[in-house]
């Protein structure tokens, strides 16, 4: 746990504070993303935690200990640190780069060796890269080495300043996904700085939205931030599409599902026509009792008495109740029927419709 209490920083020779009076708590094992416009004090706040910048006021505690009372280098060896420019040591091999902090801590050779291999695996690098120098890696690979180096001594806390800012969008997305899965396994207390709100939403258990002067405008889980912005600044920063952004954070199980135009096999064709009229569509589904078999169109039933022998089409997209509304929207938009079937395992739960999704966006 990291606690900031009335923390402030005024740089020498400046009359406005870079960070005015900041108080918030980062819970153990959670990832908190600091986000906000350029110059709002994100980096300053982050660097005050590992004392690369000394605060001019207030106190910061990490795991209950006041950082100001600790030796700066001791403190830093217990905190992983990743920066945008990565800052790998160009004169050291990848192996030695990763081993930096364990060496500083005086670990035994064998233990360091084993740890390096473990981390190489963890961040998905290949072992033959270990003997290379940083200049011999791609940007994305270097960033992975940067993360591995920060994690080397297994610090409980990880500070990251725009860690994916310098790589291209495709690599960035992949590294973000990797961080999410890494965090799911490691449960570090992570403080990450970005100015990209989408990255904040994706990576943060909580998002701290800062304004110029280090003013904390809102501190909330991403979903709450998007659903209920505290003020106009927050709403403005999130953008007009915040409703759509939120879809990726809300599971389908949160909204009402339509039972759907479902009929048993034995149903007469007239009943199917009635159902289609009611739904104002030209198709219906055969199923019942938590199962569905497939769907058919109005044309398919011409000449039949019941649905018994009607040719059924399989559902292309099956959604799980745990999938996000964004995935549901994707499925609905790209499906022939403008709805998507939702399942809990094999059990049919109902249909998600574009009406329900847009109701959720507007809310």
């Amino acid at each position: 746990m990291i606690e900031l209490e009335h923390v402030s920083k005024t740089f020498p020779g400046q009359d406005v504070a870079a960070v005015g009076d900041l108080t918030f708590t980062i819970p153990e094992g959670e990832s908190v993303v600091l986000v906000g416009p350029s110059g709002c004090g994100k980096t300053t706040t982050l660097k005050m935690i590992n004392r690369l910048i000394e605060p001019t006021g207030g106190t910061i505690t990490v795991a209950g200990r006041d950082v100001a009372q600790m030796e700066a280098h001791e403190l830093r060896r217990g905190i992983g640190y990743v920066i945008q420019q990565i800052g790998l040591f160009p004169h050291r091999t990848i192996r030695d780069n990763i081993a930096t902090v364990p060496k500083l801590l005086g670990w035994e050779k064998k233990r360091i060796q084993a740890r390096v291999l473990e981390l190489t695996d963890l961040v998905d690098l290949s072992e033959d890269m270990l003997t290379r120098y940083p200049s011999e890696l791609s940007g994305g690979q270097r960033q992975r080495v940067g993360v591995a180096r920060a994690l080397a001594a297994d610090p409980p806390v990880l500070l990251m300043d725009e860690p994916f800012g310098a790589v291209d969008p495709i690599v960035r997305t992949r590294l973000q996904d990797e961080l999410v899965s890494l965090q799911a396994r490691l449960n570090k207390t992570i403080v990450l700085v970005t100015h990209d709100i989408d990255e904040a939403i994706k990576l943060g258990d909580r998002v701290a939205l800062l304004n110029i002067g280090g003013v904390l405008e809102q501190y909330a889980p991403p979903e709450e931030l998007l659903r209920d912005p505290a003020n106009a600044f927050v709403a403005d920063f999130l953008g007009t599409d915040r409703g759509i952004k939120r879809l990726s954070l809300v599971p389908i199980s949160q909204i009402n599902l339509d039972p759907g135009p479902v009929l048993p096999r034995s149903a007469p064709v007239a009943e199917a026509r009635e159902m289609m009229r009611r739904y104002q569509i030209d198709w219906a589904v055969v199923g019942g009792d938590g199962r569905i078999e497939g769907w058919f169109t109005e044309n398919d039933i011409a000449g039949h008495d019941t649905l018994d022998r009607v040719h059924l089409l399989p559902f292309q997209t099956k959604l799980a109740a745990t999938d996000s509304l964004q995935q549901a929207l994707d499925a609905v938009i790209s499906s022939h029927t403008a709805v998507a079937a939702v399942f809990d395992g094999e059990r049919y739960l109902g249909m998600v419709t574009s009406e329900e999704i847009s109701r959720e966006i507007i809310e």
Partner: protein, 229 residues
């Protein structure tokens, strides 16, 4: 024609002189090398100390480079003439003069080398928990090495040339032959000595420069390998 030229060349350059003076040549080689090595080593120690002061206290950069700059511009002959009454016809006199010429070059390169260490690398090192001292020794110094060695190469080559001047106080390495050659009024034997002294001095400079360059290559394998694109 060719025969004539050869006769003339043989007349001017006395190969037999080399054979008769091989011991003296060896002694002067040792002297030349020792004067150079001592001068560059002492220069390096002094420059390192002064550079550390500069890196720590930036304001000292101008006064230090200004002072060593003046030392650099004093004609070596004048410096010798000035020192002999104080320190005599000694090795000390020679070394003071030689060392004073290395300082400006070495300090400029050491400071430039340390300044050239990328900011992000330094920040990462600090963030990882390096103490100031360890960071300097393990990160800054190795990264500054190519620029520092470049300075040592220039300093060494400069000193090797300058050593000949100290022949005026009875030292001089190969300069001894040049001085004696001059005193023989360009007689064949005199010319031979001037040519041998000059050629060996140049050869020594080249050998030292190349060896330092190779040493640097061996010490900085990381600087050679390049990205696979």
């Amino acid at each position: 024609m060719i025969g004539l030229a050869q006769t003339q060349a043989q007349g001017v350059f006395r190969w037999d002189w080399i054979g008769r003076n091989i011991d003296a040549i060896w002694d002067r080689t040792v002297e030349h090398v020792v004067l150079t090595v001592v001068a560059v080593s002492v220069g390096l120690v002094i420059s390192t100390v002064l550079s550390l002061i500069i890196v720590r206290y930036r304001k000292t950069y101008t006064p230090i480079t200004w002072t060593t700059g003046i030392l650099y511009t004093i004609p070596s002959l004048a410096a010798l003439a000035f020192l002999v009454p104080i320190t005599g016809l000694s090795h000390l006199t020679a070394e003071i003069v030689l060392v004073s010429y290395t300082l400006l070059i070495l300090i400029r390169n050491i400071v430039a080398g340390i300044d050239g260490v990328p900011q992000d690398v330094l920040e990462a090192a600090r963030g990882m928990g390096y103490t100031r001292r360890r960071r300097f020794i393990e990160i800054e110094l190795p990264l500054a090495l190519p620029v520092i060695v470049a300075g040592i190469r220039i300093a060494a080559v400069t000193v090797i040339g300058l050593v000949t001047v100290t022949s005026l106080i009875g030292l001089g390495g190969y300069g001894f032959f040049i001085l004696r050659g001059l005193s023989l009024f360009y007689s064949p034997i005199g010319t031979t000595q001037i040519l041998v002294g000059t050629a060996l001095s140049v050869l020594l400079a080249v050998v030292v420069d190349v060896s330092l360059a190779l040493t640097e290559r061996a010490l900085t394998p990381w600087a050679r390998r390049k990205a696979p694109a």
